[in-house]
Structure formats: C-alpha cells, structure tokens
Symmetry: D3
Subunit: 174 residues, 6 copies
C-alpha cells in the first residue's frame, strides 16, 4: 500500500515515453479508450515445458496493462504442469492475494519469525502473502493447475530467492 494515490481518474501509461519519474508517463486522456481498461492477456496459456513446470503471464502497468499505471494494482497468471513449482520468492513492494482457477495448489509463506503458514488450496480458494515475505506455490493436484494473483502496487517486483542468492550477476563473493 505504498504507491501514491492517483491524481486523476486514470493515467494510462504511455509505454513509448522514455521519461522516467517515480511512475510512468500518461497517454493523452483523449487517446484513452475502453480497450485500455479491458485486459485479455490471460486468455492465453503460458508454456510450462521447462524444468520448473511453470508458465507466467504478467498484467503489469509497465508491460502489457498500461491502464494500471497510478492505480496501485497489478496481476499475474501462472500455469503449472503436474508438480509445477513457483519457487520461494518475494515481492518487495506489495501484498498479494492468490486464487486457484484450476487444480489443487499448495501455497505458503514464511513470516519474519521463521514460522511457515501454508495450505492446500482448491479451485476458488484464496490465500494472502503479506508484503515482502518469502512465499511459494506448488501444484499438488493430479493434472495441470492455474492460479491468478492480484497485488496492491503497480510494480511489486519479483525476487527469486535462488537467483538472488546463487545466480546474481556478478556473483556474490564472500
């Protein structure tokens, strides 16, 4: 909940602007249409043919859903192969609610006291990942699974723990 509130009804991002402030430039309001607000990017299924068995489609102001600029919201859809894992990661700038659209998904987060809060979600269930805490998602059903997440910042950031710890560039040398 740290994003500034919107000054205008909307400020649909002009993704062609090279100017960068703490947020994205707005398209001229007269150029904004209904299509800007309707997001169909989740009709597709993302490929899960990879070691983790995971496909991701974002719904971000700065990427493919510019109407979310200044609105303090962002989206993400996950496709999971059987056993597919979204490994432990954080979002440095948002809390997240996740819902299962298909399948059974084991989800959880670890709080700053090191306590794990986790559950097996069925279709339609939700779970909360508080801002900045390590969390993960694992397809524990017998087939494919799909989840959708909504986060309360327009650019929550994603930091995969394994990449941050073992894959940083340049490497972390102790």
């Amino acid at each position: 909940a740290g994003d500034a509130g919107p000054i205008n009804d909307f400020c649909v991002a002009d993704l062609k602007s090279a100017l960068l402030f703490n947020g994205l430039a707005c398209k001229a309001p007269s150029m904004v249409t209904s299509d800007d607000f309707a997001f169909t990017g989740f009709r597709a299924a993302a490929d899960t043919n990879n070691p983790l068995g995971i496909g991701i489609i974002p719904g971000f102001a700065g990427v493919n859903y510019p109407a979310l600029n200044t609105q303090g919201l962002s989206l993400a859809k996950f496709n999971y192969a059987k056993g597919g894992l979204v490994p432990p990661h954080t979002h440095p700038r948002a809390s997240e609610v996740i819902t299962v659209l298909k399948g059974e998904v084991h989800v959880g987060f670890v709080d700053t006291a090191g306590k794990l809060f986790a559950a097996k979600l069925k279709t339609g269930d939700f779970f909360l990942f508080p801002v900045g805490l390590v969390h993960f998602q694992l397809n524990v059903g017998s087939g494919h699974a799909v989840t959708v997440s909504v986060l309360n910042a327009q650019n929550p950031g994603v930091q995969l723990m394994a990449s941050a710890l073992f894959g940083a560039s340049p490497e972390i040398k102790d």
Copy 2:
C-alpha cells in the same frame, strides 16, 4: 491506495473486539494459524433468486477474512443469473480489478467527464474500475455467470447509486 501500510507481518483482525480505531484490533500473533490466511468462502455459490439476479459473497477483513486487516486488500464474488445486473455503484476507498470466472459479462465505468468506458468480458478477462467512479456489471451471456473482484483497500465501501439517491433513510427531501 490510501490505507496505511502494515506495521507488522500480519495483524489478523480480532472480530470479537469492540474497540474501533482507524482499523481493527489484531488477534494475538501466537493464536494465528495457516487457516487464517486460507479463504474458502468463495466455494459456495450465492443465491441469485432475487429481482436483480445477483448473489454476492464478500471477502473482507471485518466480515469473513480477518487476515486481510492492515494488508490493503479485499475481495468480492458475484453470482449472476441470466441477465443478472450489479447496478451502478461506487467504492469510495479503493480501485478494483474484476475478472470473469464463468460466462460473458458487460462491465463499465463512467469517468468524471461523463465518458463511459465499457467492454464485454469473456472468461479470464479483467477490467479496471478506478477509485470512486460509478461502475456496473451485467451478465450478457446465455447462462449463469461468475466474477471475482479484488480491491486495494481493506474496507472499500459500497454505495449503490439507486439506494443513495432514492432509498436513503431518512429520505433526501429537496
């Protein structure tokens, strides 16, 4: 995006507390379990056997999902009979993203210049309703429909225009 950020990892609402500040009292952290974060309230279907053909299930910190207290997020599920209408309303304290889980739903909002932004959404599509603006949802498919909304405040408020204008108690007398 007006809710204060959270001071703690979580502050699961103690719904039995009678104390009211700008937010809800927290349960003792030691009493919080994984079940607090898992929300299964949307497994049910809400009855649509009413004049508007609409059933609503909230997912609110102060009602049935206390883990959302201090997290700046809230949920709502709508069941629609054929032709079911969520009539024009506002949320005074949050922006909203809505997604169609089943059916075809015509949604729209009116901006402060009086311009309508609307679209017919199919399953999996999203739409944005900016904070405080009048919006509506109408099932335009051939059968039942289901949508889920996420809002970026823990208590966004709902003001139905018809009720506010013609059903206030006591009545507005000009």
Copy 3:
C-alpha cells in the same frame, strides 16, 4: 488523504507543460512569486441563471490555482440562486469541508449503509463530506447563498450522479 506528500516546499504547476505524470510539472522555482500563492478567483460571483440555480468557481491546481500542485488541497466556491441545488455527486479522491458564507444551506451525505446525515447550515457553519460518498447542497434560505469548500486532494474529481447514470457518453445500455 491519498495524494503523495510534497517533495519540495512548493511545486507551482506549469500549466503550459504537456507532460503528464501522476501530478503536474513544476514551474522553475526562480519564476515563482507571491502572486502564485494568493488566490483572488473567488472575488467574482458565478452566474446562477441556469436550471439548477448554481454557479461554480473552482480553485484547482490544474485550472486556476497552480500553487496547490503537490499540496493535497483544492477549493470550490458555489453561488446559489434562491432554491439553487447542487445535485447529488461524489468526489472520488477527497474528503470535503464546506462552509456557508451567506444564506442558509441544507447539506447532507448518504453513507454506505444508506443512512442520510444532513443539516441546515447557517452562515459560518461547516459540514463534512467523507471521501467518495454521495452528497448534495440546497439553498433553503430566502435569498441568494454562497458556500466555499476545501478538499484534501489536489484533484478530487466531481461525478454528478445524474450525469453518470443517465447522461454518460456513450449511453449506458443495459
């Protein structure tokens, strides 16, 4: 109270800039003078010779009071003919305090539970309209009336209920 706090002492809006971010560009500080901070736009009386019997003069950062840019405040003055009505409307992004400068004005708002809170104000009295809720003002005195409002956002927005519901463009078609 959703506007970001100011980064500088002032950021007087450059109304000639075409750039749009979440807020308005600042004039060069060296070009700012005392005149920027003094607002005399309310010396005039707005014409009330119209069906509603209402004249409005704004005091907005983006219109005629650029010093309010980034300061989280905006103004509005209303002139009322006898019986003049500011019909039900909302401000999606600000709470408002209104005061009567002349005459007797009946004001009220409807909360999200559908309860009306209203009063007849005399000269010098104030009333609060919480953020985003439907409210109205009606001149119930025997002559002209004048009110001034202050809102806690630089661009609160105004949505007239009648226009949003029955006058949107294109029309809302159910």
Copy 4:
C-alpha cells in the same frame, strides 16, 4: 498529506476514551448522528482583548469537531482586532489554506531558502502555507478582521516561533 486514509466512512472520535494510538478511538457507529457532522463552533467570535489582538477558535477532531477524526482535515478561525497579529508559527504536520471572511489581512510564509512570499488579502481571497513552513497573519485593515483556515491533517500542530525559541519550558540553555 501524511495522515493515513480512512478505513471506514467515518470514525467520529470518542473524546471520552483514554486509549491513545496513532489517532483517536471511534464512537460506536450507531451513536453517530447528523449533529456530529455539522460544526457550529465558528458562530461565536473569539475575544481579541489581549496583547496580540487575536482570538482563536479551533475545529479539531480531538477538541470540538470529532467527526474529523481519520478524515485528514482540521479547521481554525481567527478574530483580529485592528492591527491584530498571528505571529510567526508553523504547523508541523499539514499544509494550510487561509481565507479572509472580513477585513484586509497581510499574510506570508518564508520558504527554506529564506525567501518571503506574502500578499495583502481582501475578503474572499485565499493563500497557501505549505506544510511546515513559518508563516504569519496581520490585520492591516481599518477595523476588525476574520479569517478561516483549513488544514490537510486532523491534528496539524501549532508551534509558535517565539514560544519555541524563548518560552520553552524548561528554558533552552546554550
């Protein structure tokens, strides 16, 4: 603009509660009436028979206008004898707009670069004092004067420079 946004439509302060968090406890919503929102405290004129020739009536959530609790707004009315002076002071937690209801008032603030911005206001004029900066008001008209201020925080604080520098208790000893 630093107050947290409101979680509820209103949270009218319960001035009898001894509990103190970052804000005031709310009265039970069922006990709230229209009278809570109507503020008539400025009908009176404050006595100006004192060395500075100034009388002040607050309109504060924690003092006499409890409906302002959580709404990010506060009020103050000043009566000025001829030559009456509100000496240099700051509000540590709010920006302020001031308007002259009667008379002619010279007002000004000093920015952090030491530059004075000042003007002689006539009835109906407004001036902005940005958050935290030293400002003052002086009745320069031929008779009594009245001003009203609105600030964008529920408890802006008032720090008189002369008192802070020369009247602190215990005394500042260098």
Copy 5:
C-alpha cells in the same frame, strides 16, 4: 515509506499495553520525558562469539526505543568479528541506509533483475538497500568492525534467507 504519518508530536509506545492495532499504544503524554527520546542502547558492544561472528542490537519502537512509535524510523547496530557475516536477508517494510563506524565492510544488494550492486565501505561511508531487496554485510577488514543502520519504518521486519528457505517451522515440504 509505507507507515502512516504521525497524528501527534509523539506517541511514545506503552510497551506494557497488550492491545494491538496497526501500531502500538501511546503512553500518556504527561508521562513522557527527555529520557524517552535519548537512546543509549548502542553504547554496548554485542557479543560476536558465534558461528557468523555477528552481534546485533536493535533500536526498535516495540523493543527498546519506544519513542520511535509512529515516527517511521528504526535502528540497528552490528558488531562484526574478523570475517563476520550478516548473511543475505530482506526487510519487507523499509529501505535502509547503513554506515560503517569502524573497519571495512563489504555490502551489497541484488535487484529484482538479479543484478548485484556492492561496494567495500570504509569508516563513515554509507550504502542504500532499497525496500524489500536481498542484501548482506561482510567484515572484510583486518579486525573488528561496527556498522549502524537506519530504516524508514518503525518495524521493518528481518527475514533471513537461509532461515526462510531451510529453517522454517514447520519445514517447507515440496
């Protein structure tokens, strides 16, 4: 920068209160003294006789520096044995500036693109760790080292990556 701004000059935490809202209860203002604002907890050196060679002393509103309640600030002091390591961790709710009081310390963070930003700091140097990102500190000097950090939230939280990933309780089972 997500903490709500303060409503009062200060709200020194009453650490004996069992009430929990989104923040801590205030002591009665009349009980607050100069000693509340002076923090001497860093005069001590924390023991570094442990596998990581690290000793930590907090300066937190909820622990040992209650004056920081509602002020959006917190402190931490680290003592390092030769080679002492503060292993990769995050603060979910604050950005941090760290300074070296003694010795030479290698510090760094990994951004969400997996890029490492790191430097060897000498006495008096500062480094920034943006909110929520993985970062670490390593004593690379020839003797003991000391650093002090200031964070812009009253309860930033600390999540050690190793503990979150491999030491959660109950264990994360994929």
Copy 6:
C-alpha cells in the same frame, strides 16, 4: 513518512534533467552502477571556521547522493568546533534521528505545547526529532564533535528560525 513509496527498485536521480515533477527524474537503469549506491561524501570534514562553529555536509538525492531519489531517506553530517551550535531549526517534511560520532553534544526539541525535551548525548547515542518541530544541537564537549543524522524523506527541507524570522528576503514587515 509522507513521501510516496518507490515504484521501482531504484530511480537514481538524473541531476542533469531540468524536468521537475513531485520528485526527480531517474537515470536510465542500465546506467546505474554500484558506485551510485555507495556514498563517500562524509569522509571529508566540513570547515567549522565560522561564527557558529559548524560545518555541514548533506547527503541528499538532489545534491550529492542521487540514489536516495524515491527512497524516502536523506543524510546530513555536522562538524562542530568547541562550542559549535546548530541553532534552532525545523525540517518541514521529515522526522530525524541523530547520532554522535565524536564528542558530547547537547540536543533537544520543543514540542507544540512548548515543552523542551533535551539530553546530553555521548558517542554512539541517538536522539529523535519528530517531524516539523524546532530542534538544535550544541557541542558541549571539550573538543571537536561530529554527528550524523538520517531523515525519513528525500528532501526534508531546513528552515533556520533566525533566518526565517529576522533574515527573510524581502524582510517581514509588520
């Protein structure tokens, strides 16, 4: 705590940009290096050969530490000759924590009730100056002294009381 939260991991200020919004323009992320985050500006000692016996080095986003842009933090280092005084001043947009690196320093602030809170700090001690309140620092040790402050806004502003009251340009004329 009034600065908006950051939208990105970092937005290192482009100090060559002439554009001014409510914050500073960001350098292209690809041009950002580790050196941007490491601040060595406090290795120097500021000259104290002046009437107040004070030297100041800032660590501000807009001056010499551009990585602090959007991060809600700023720094300042003070060198004090024997008896050196930082006279009463305010920061209109931030709370401050100050620490003594060398010597003995008497510090204090005056609250809005006119009460002085002060203490003699030794090396390593901290003190809190709440947002917007008048405060001062005085070297009371037998030799030179050094302090470092951290504030929770990127551009807190500094208003010296003596300058604001007696040195404004043009002069305040009552």
